[in-house]
Symmetry: C2
Subunit: 501 residues, 2 copies
């Protein structure tokens, strides 16, 4: 039975790649009704005899010696009925979910290794100041922040990049540039209004610190392409929309809009398909941006071809040159069919300064799968000297949803080399010895820890996908033998202990 939370994998917006478009609406259109799930669970709990004091306990209980302590001291002392669900917006990872997570993270790590990135991590709890930005980034408006017992403002990190920037400044000259770092970390947000959407997700980040040229972005996008290919996705399943913040910057310059409004404008424009156009215009007018400039902005944002962009901005600017180089590099890497220019891609983080990109589902059903870009100015916002940098964030939610849709989620079953089963309590010691011997050889052993029937053991072997069953019986043991059954061929024979390998 899948865990009740399996479906809610969909329900968080990865902070670093805020959706640009109707994807958000989609995510609102499938709210998980937490209340009804909880009721359902309570109901099944009441139906479950283990929860009902009047019916006998359904499984082997603490009998014998372990059952001596009764009534339970702690239960008497502190009888609290806790909610058996994880807190709103969070997940448990029972074995089947954990296998999926480990498999996904293993793929993240393997791609990062192929690209020679080193793994890093940062505290999940950071100073709130690290994430507070005046440009109105949605990510910082949904900060999961609070005051600690010492009166300090802290936050559960909404993204990894600010911590990375902090660490780079701290390391100073002790590290040699460029740095190629990756991280897989849990990120949080707190959202007051909607129910049932996730408050945490894991994010894979790859960042290149100290490289100003576009080859860095090309390498990052290629690493995601490499992941997609490993997962079985093709260029007809997913793609990347690419643009540059310098496109907007050129337009703002044309209309003499001060550069310190840049981040704010980007954040507003990023919300274009989430909130009504009149509201966008009103926000831009409030900055203030002239109606004429707004018209100019909107015109540019609708461009989907580089040659049209060049017509409008001229060939001299950095925006066009950067993008042309990126497309040329993609050609040589061999992934040009995965990327397309789209001026409407702005991304929601105010700190981006150059190329921005997002991975999208070509069927258009899902939010952005990942997103990233160049952030050459982030370090100076923390009091450091600027170092050119770019990176991306890739969440664990949308990709799983996508793979599920495409039937690409692997069947991940447990795998155990041996079950060792003592036929009687007196044989537990010998069984332990055998288990110990096999584990020394690197084999995994599920030792049956209680008196069980053989039928149970076979069923259990199937459940944990064991290759071999080793029966420790009285008469065989007296001759230094055990009975070995190959669980796939069904062959069985007696083996001397020293022959067991």
């Amino acid at each position: 039975m899948p865990p009740p939370n399996a479906a809610s994998v969909l329900n968080i917006l990865p902070p670093r790649f805020k959706p640009f478009s109707k994807s958000l609406l989609y995510s609102f259109s499938v709210p998980r009704n937490r209340t009804s799930i909880s009721l359902l669970r309570c109901f099944s709990l009441y139906q479950n005899p283990i929860q009902s004091p009047s019916s006998p306990p359904p499984r082997e209980k603490a009998l014998g010696r372990s059952g001596a302590l009764s009534p339970s001291p702690s239960a008497v002392e502190n009888p609290t009925v806790v909610d058996v669900n994880p807190p709103r917006g969070t997940r448990d990872f029972p074995p089947e979910e954990m296998r999926l997570q480990s498999w996904l993270f293993q793929n993240f790590r393997e791609v990062s290794r192929l690209f020679a990135f080193e793994e890093v991590d940062f505290p999940v709890l950071e100073s709130e100041a690290l994430f507070v930005r005046k440009a109105g980034d949605e990510i910082t408006e949904q900060l999961y922040s609070f005051e600690d017992k010492g009166g300090r403002r802290v936050a559960l990190r909404p993204e990894l990049t600010p911590s990375l920037a902090r660490l780079v400044i701290q390391k100073g000259k002790s590290v040699s540039l460029p740095l190629k770092w990756f991280a897989i970390g849990q990120c949080w947000r707190y959202e007051r209004t909607t129910r049932g959407r996730r408050r945490e997700h894991y994010q894979w980040n790859m960042d290149i610190i100290g490289v100003s040229g576009v080859l860095a972005e090309a390498e990052l996008i290629f690493s995601i392409v490499t992941l997609f290919k490993r997962l079985g996705l093709t260029a007809s399943d997913v793609g990347f929309k690419v643009s540059s913040r310098k496109v907007l910057q050129a337009v703002l310059q044309r209309y003499s809009i001060p550069e310190d409004k840049f981040g704010e404008v980007c954040v507003i424009i990023d919300k274009m398909e989430k909130i009504p156009m009149e509201e966008i215009e009103k926000k831009l007018i409030d900055i203030p941006i002239s109606l004429e400039a707004i018209k100019g902005l909107l015109q540019v944002l609708s461009i989907k071809s580089l040659s049209k962009l060049e017509e409008l901005l001229g060939a001299a600017g950095d925006a066009v040159a950067d993008l042309k180089q990126l497309f040329s590099l993609a050609e040589q890497y061999g992934y040009s069919q995965w990327i397309q220019f789209d001026a409407s891609v702005v991304r929601g983080l105010s700190y981006y300064t150059g190329i921005v990109f997002e991975g999208f589902d070509r069927q258009g059903n899902l939010r952005a799968i990942c997103g990233g870009g160049r952030y050459d100015r982030l370090l100076s916002t923390f009091g450091g000297d600027d170092i050119p940098a770019c990176g991306f964030g890739f969440g664990d939610a949308v990709i799983v949803e996508l793979l599920k849709d495409r039937g690409l989620l692997p069947e991940l079953t447990p795998q155990v080399d041996n079950i060792v089963f003592p036929l009687g309590e007196d044989l537990q010691g010998p069984a332990a010895m055998i288990a110990s011997k096999l584990r020394q050889k690197g084999q995994s052993v599920d030792l049956v820890l209680e008196t069980k029937r053989l039928k149970w053991v076979f069923k259990h072997a199937e459940r944990i996908n064991a290759s071999r069953l080793i029966l420790v019986g009285e008469s065989e043991w007296q001759q230094g033998m055990v009975r070995v059954k190959n669980l796939s061929t069904r062959e069985e024979h007696d083996l001397k202990l020293e022959e067991l390998d």
Copy 2:
């Protein structure tokens, strides 16, 4: 240069295995002086030219196109100087620390696999109610709890076991017992008074749910022995002190002390070597426990041999029988030289009901390395039916300290198969193509992303421990060739692209 935080690995008490003895005093006797470290850092920052606005930036800056955005829009908009250190009591994991952590976790995972345990995880943020216990457990008194924005009391988990119990109740009949689960998760505590001690650590847990017999505890202790051996530790480096809560229970019964005082008594006794004896006695008298009973308790706690215990309690009780069986099983597993009976081991968690154990450093310099025991009654404190269970917690702090002391920490260096270096910007595309080709073969490639000197590339190759350097030069490339240099043998030769593997 080691990171400033490397030394503070020592500075947290692993919640699940609160120290019993002078180990805590030890931990107080080596407080990290946070203030002086911070000052030192500030000082070096001022000396570091990258932090000084008057000196030129020390490394290649965002030149050319990326340098066009000036002054930085976001810097102008939001000039905040943030503290470059992680929040008090937390750690960054730069690559060298992360390699160590990954290596340690890899060992945890490999041992768990050998014992056929399945990995699980739970939210790092849980309902505060899950951890509040009336017995006065230190772990719950140092809870890192707060009110979320919705007014709910939540806590960063101090340990993993209550979440595991919650999940087991939630799963109800959908899982078959026994469960063998392991988890590696970050745990938190908030401690108001001392400075510089860690507020987070990672903990490896293994738990067996649904087995009442002592073979379960024997298996758990053996899994830790297996880890110790993998790490290069022997029975003369470390050992386990083992006792049973049933010893105390028998004494309390003898003096007719109500069973609902049991958890409280255990928690007080666990503090015996941390606070003065008069205070312990006063706390016990307040419960109330008679002076005679206190005398009886203290007498039992000083016992270090099973036969003496049997003399005092008689052979009939569960305490002696459980312990005898455990020592007999340890004999057959082959690890009896690692364990010893010590009645003074009580452990600080009120929910333990049977066998308790802690791993200790035989030189006596460090706090408990790990600890665990049987907790057959925990589930009923959450409103579930009891299921027999036992488990342990093993932190990432003390073990690293111990391995460092013994010279057993491995040298973990990065490892890269290839560096691909384009000799000029025009050759970036061909270099990207070559990198792509090698990565498809599963080889890791560090692609040099900027124009650098050959000298820099050699130095860089050494730093990242690369095996091979592939130079993409103009004249070779025109003939479809690259120059390949084996960095260990120093041999080099030109190769056709199709010959490269």
